[in-house]
Symmetry: C2
Subunit: 259 residues, 2 copies
């Protein structure tokens, strides 16, 4: 993998007028219809970035909290965090491990490996009753692969697909876009002992979280409230790669000093 | 501040052929010359993103490790982390507090408030002897302000300037672009109790780290080794704001559960 994965221009385009997505909707088909309506197309090496929310909706990852019976443990953590015990039960159901539980805060290791507040469970923009919440897609890499295959078959090109979420961070305020799932795209760029700096010095510690940077760039165009632009075309990068996944971005628990 | 800070397109352009920057070089003047050479200009509301490295070089933030005498404390931490004791001394000189010190790892709270491995001190791409290291700019907000004022005066427009660095993160591998300094730009977008989602539900927890997202987007074009494209024009956002600084992005120590 060459380091020159970017030219001198990067262009991001929001796909407009994507309708509210419901369970069993065919997301790649709907996105393609919106592309056609706007005289847009996908080109070779484009990266299609999609907000996890519409993937979760299409995969019917809704939970009606009225149907959730909190366990003893959920009741206990609910008291500590001041969160709805049914929501806490849902969070625990999605989690491998509790990382921090304080008043107003419940950070866990999600089953997918990501460290996430509330296990990434969302209550906003879900177009259901106030008792409904939305879980992350079950297998975001598989969701990304399905969409990639659809468009690669249709356009006879190579593209990458990223599924993203807005995630809180240690040390800094504000969420930023992160990669949750991917297919056909390099996610981590390891230049160690491989590339040289301007002075001919071998780079010793440069590893770049490219997929998270693409997710952050795309999230700038997605908006967070009522904009409804959950799919973005990113053009100008050369990152097609079938061997990488989002798991490459996750620091192993053993090497993680901040749990 | 309206939530509609992005249109449907975001365009990033790398400014080419910026020469090696030396102490006392006039960075905004040099950038402007490169812009002119490429028939580029800055437009109203553009954000000019600049890698901290060239700011540090122009501000002569070089330290020759041969001149550094390690303290007792630096020698002790050097042993624990397996790092050059003179480098450790330099890191401690830039730090408020040690956050983690382990074999190969020294994470501190920088005087600027950021949590950074090695206090952001860099050894690569610095065009000096192998004993030279480069500290972060002393006051990145002031550096950004100076550059903003130069271009605003020249072009009679409003722009934002971000100074960025590639920073490691808790939980995830790979560095991503982060904002270190800013002027004339909104850095954190707080939609809480202000904006509504698609279902008319008042957003309760949406705070977006927009400046870090812009930094990540720009870093994709900057490259990390020998590309030499440390300045990027970001076009398509409406984030001009004179009240925000990068300090708004830093989680206070009291509210930080991951130190």
């Amino acid at each position: 993998m060459n380091k020159k994965y970017a030219g001198s221009e990067l262009n991001l385009t929001a796909i407009q007028n994507i309708p509210e997505i419901n369970p069993d909707d065919d997301v790649p088909h709907i996105i393609n219809r919106c592309l056609t309506d706007q005289n847009l197309d996908l080109k070779n090496k484009d990266i299609l970035v999609i907000a996890q929310k519409i993937i979760s909706k299409s995969e019917d990852r809704f939970v009606d909290l009225k149907t959730v019976k909190p366990s003893e443990k959920a009741l206990e953590i609910s008291k500590k965090t001041d969160k709805d015990p049914r929501l806490v039960e849902s969070i625990l159901g999605e989690a491998n491990e509790i990382i921090r539980a304080e008043k107003g805060i419940l950070v866990v290791e999600h089953k997918l490996g990501h460290i996430l507040a509330n296990a990434g469970i969302d209550r906003s923009n879900i177009a259901r009753t106030s008792d409904h919440v939305l879980l992350l897609p079950k297998d975001p890499d598989a969701s990304a692969r399905k969409i990639k295959n659809y468009f690669q078959g249709l356009y006879k090109i190579k593209i990458g697909v990223l599924i993203t979420d807005s995630i809180g961070r240690a040390w800094r305020l504000g969420t930023t876009g992160h990669a949750l799932g991917s297919s056909g795209i390099k996610t981590l760029m390891d230049l160690r002992n491989n590339e040289f700096d301007r002075d001919g010095r071998l780079l010793q510690s440069t590893v770049i979280g490219v997929a998270d940077q693409i997710a952050s760039a795309s999230t700038l165009l997605m908006g967070e409230s009522s904009e409804g632009t959950p799919a973005i075309i990113v053009r100008g990068l050369d990152l097609c790669d079938d061997s990488d996944t989002v798991k490459d971005l996750i620091r192993s628990a053993e090497e993680d000093l901040f749990r």
